[in-house]
């Protein structure tokens, strides 16, 4: 390479104060860019990890995204229910391996209450083949037992054996409480990083029991109420549930079953494949994180423009240096290369330090992200996309360097050996 390239490093070192600031600016912007990219990837993976192993989600006929949102993400409401008889029919189908009933509509301090069966703890999977596991206690053994998600227990400081009151409806502050039928915390699940953490689980029968003396959202007058113990003696088989999850014995029967359910004559049903619906939902949500990446790219651009300003400002005081270099035989091309190499060096160092900052940031926040948001940030070597982003930043730094380099090229042609100060 040109003799000038060897000089670039010395020149940068000579101005190490300003150079360090420039490098740091680029490093921070690159760390932001890589951080956003890492979170984008992990958020998408974590999103896709919300549910796994389930072949079909079945609910009353509405939209696939709506069904996915209220069954899995605990967002929004069901418009109609599925009859328990239909659920039993599907559950008894010879191709069906297991089913998990879901009954929603109540809440506890803003956390949703979900009625289900013990099959939930056996068959619900997330993030590949992770099954639900208990941090403390176990599944329901009594009618008035509840199993809490990790975040519910953390946020409300519940321990095993505590009594909790379920509220009717979904408000954060509800005036209609099922306070005559308190629940005992029988189990607390390990953290999953999915909406399961924010769910209060009770049995389907318990859902029936707490609503046994309710009509149209109002509890019966005092003298007609059914006490908690009395409810135990009643038939607590529900009439309907909100939705249910289905695991098939063989994957090859999933589409057949899906079609059969969607064309079910006795009531209007919707069966969706979770993966497909998740992808559709991500297409909606993913726009926001693309916007984040674009913002990060603009921050990198600002960093490189800062470098451009620094180099352009230094040019005036470097005309003497250029004349000296010309006098010892440097070609205008060498002067051009000197400045491009300087910009490239600053950009490359900035990008590398940015990588280090990213890794340091990931190491520092990994535990917190995992606990708080269930994001498992992978600390492997940079991905292809990350390398491409880094390469882009470095190439852009060289390209930006061409601007002062062209100017110095022109000046050195005009000045020649004349030393201007």
């Amino acid at each position: 390479m040109s003799a000038a390239v060897g000089l670039a490093a010395r020149s940068v070192w000579n101005r190490r104060g300003t150079a360090a600031l420039t490098i740091f600016t680029i490093a921070v912007s690159v760390a932001l860019l890589l951080g956003v990219q890492k979170i984008r990837v992990e958020a998408k993976a974590s999103f896709a990890n919300t549910i796994s192993g389930t072949d079909l989600i079945v609910g009353a006929r509405s939209g696939p995204i709506n069904l996915l949102l209220y069954t899995i993400f605990r967002v929004g409401d069901a418009t109609a229910n599925v009859s328990y008889a239909t659920y039993r029919t599907v559950a008894a189908h010879p191709d069906v391996a297991w089913t998990i009933p879901i009954s929603l509509g109540d809440s506890h301090h803003g956390f949703r209450v979900m009625g289900t069966s013990s099959d939930y703890f056996a068959h619900y999977h997330f993030a590949g083949d992770h099954a639900l596991a208990f941090a403390q206690g176990g599944p329901f053994s009594d009618l008035y037992d509840t199993v809490l998600g990790a975040e519910v227990a953390d946020a409300l400081h519940y321990r095993l054996g505590d009594n909790i009151i379920v509220s009717h409806g979904l408000g954060n502050v509800s005036f209609a409480n099922h306070k005559d039928k308190p629940f005992r915390v029988a189990g607390i699940l390990k953290r999953t990083g999915t909406p399961v953490d924010r769910t209060v689980h009770i049995s389907l029968e318990a859902i029936t029991a707490i609503h046994i003396d309710w009509q149209s959202g109002i509890q019966a007058p005092l003298d007609e109420r059914v006490s908690a113990d009395e409810a135990r003696r009643r038939d607590l088989t529900p009439d309907s549930i909100t939705a249910f999850l289905v695991g098939m014995k063989s994957k090859s029967t999933v589409f057949t079953m899906q079609r059969a359910l969607n064309e079910y004559r006795k009531e209007p049903l919707l069966a969706i494949i979770p993966g497909v619906a998740l992808t559709q939902l991500w297409d909606l949500v993913g726009v926001a994180d693309m916007a984040l990446l674009i913002v990060a790219a603009f921050v990198v651009t600002a960093g490189l423009l800062g470098m451009l300003t620094a180099i352009l400002t230094s040019l005036a005081e470097r005309r003497r240096e250029m004349a000296i270099l010309r006098s010892v035989g440097a070609r205008p091309r060498d002067i051009f290369l000197l400045l491009v190499a300087e910009a490239g060096l600053l950009g490359t160092l900035g990008a590398l330090i940015g990588v280090l900052l990213t890794y340091a940031g990931v190491f520092a926040s990994r535990h917190w992200l995992e606990q708080r948001y269930g994001l498992f940030i992978n600390v492997g070597p940079p991905s292809t996309i990350e390398l491409a982003l880094l390469g882009g930043v470095i190439v852009a730094a060289f390209a930006v360097g061409a601007i002062p380099a062209l100017r110095a090229y022109g000046t050195s042609l005009a000045d020649g050996l004349t030393i201007r100060i």
């Binding site: 000089l7 010395r10 070192w13 035989g329």
Partner: protein, 242 residues
């Protein structure tokens, strides 16, 4: 590019300008020289007050500028026949420059400043067996303390020391022609003559031609030949007359 370092007697002059015309803007020439010759090995004093076209003349001899008319031959090479990068290479190989002041690249050590021409010229590298040893020898001959060479940054040197480093750089790799442009004007009177004698002695030891440009005629008796640019440059004399 050709090197014409053939034996002394039949060699062409160090500088030979014939009918050279140069104008930055058409119709307003700054240089118009019918003939200017500097013999090999001579020590020539060129008196060049400001406004006499001195910088332009040096740029023409250095091959930075090309004349609109006439020929500029340096060490027998007609620079008009050499392309831009070739002239840069020719300058790197055969010429040494010393400027008025601020001769040194601030981010290089004293030693690296002296070695700078070798970075740009394989010809000059080829003439020095052990560059670093030679550079140190030159610096020592010029009276620079080895400790200064090793440890101090160029900015910490006095102006006189900086000028001597510049001489070492100009002479490293034995260029045939050394051009010194007002190298003593930043020095005080006592130091001037000592510096000049040192410069001449070093030029003689490598058999280099010395073209010394200054407006200070008090130094001219030390030279073989004294030329006056306002007399040679017809533009300059016209301007001086008007």
């Amino acid at each position: 590019m050709t090197t014409r370092a053939s034996p002394a007697s039949a060699t062409p002059p160090a500088i030979d300008l014939r009918g050279v015309e140069f104008a930055w803007t058409p119709g307003r020439p700054v240089i118009s020289i019918s003939r200017l010759t500097v013999r090999r090995g001579d020590r020539v004093f060129l008196r060049g007050p400001s406004g006499s076209g001195k910088s332009t003349l040096l740029a023409l001899v250095a091959g930075i500028l090309r004349p609109q008319a006439g020929t500029v031959a340096v060490l027998g090479t007609d620079l008009g026949t050499v392309r831009g990068a070739g002239r840069d290479a020719f300058r790197a190989a055969h010429l040494g420059f010393i400027f008025q002041m601020f001769n040194l690249v601030p981010y290089l050590s004293v030693l690296d400043n002296v070695l700078l021409p070798l970075r740009f010229s394989a010809v000059r590298r080829g003439r020095v067996a052990n560059a670093e040893v030679e550079a140190r020898r030159l610096l020592q001959e010029l009276g620079l303390d080895p400790a200064d060479v090793n440890e101090r940054g160029v900015a910490e040197l006095s102006v006189g020391q900086q000028q001597r480093v510049a001489v070492a750089r100009a002479l490293l790799g034995r260029p045939e022609l050394v051009i010194a442009d007002e190298p003593t004007s930043a020095l005080d009177t006592d130091a001037r003559e000592a510096f000049l004698k040192l410069l001449m002695q070093e030029c003689a030891s490598v058999a280099a031609t010395l073209l010394f440009v200054s407006h200070d005629l008090s130094l001219s008796p030390l030279f073989d030949q004294t030329l006056s640019l306002p007399d040679i440059n017809r533009v300059g004399s016209r301007r001086a007359a008007s």
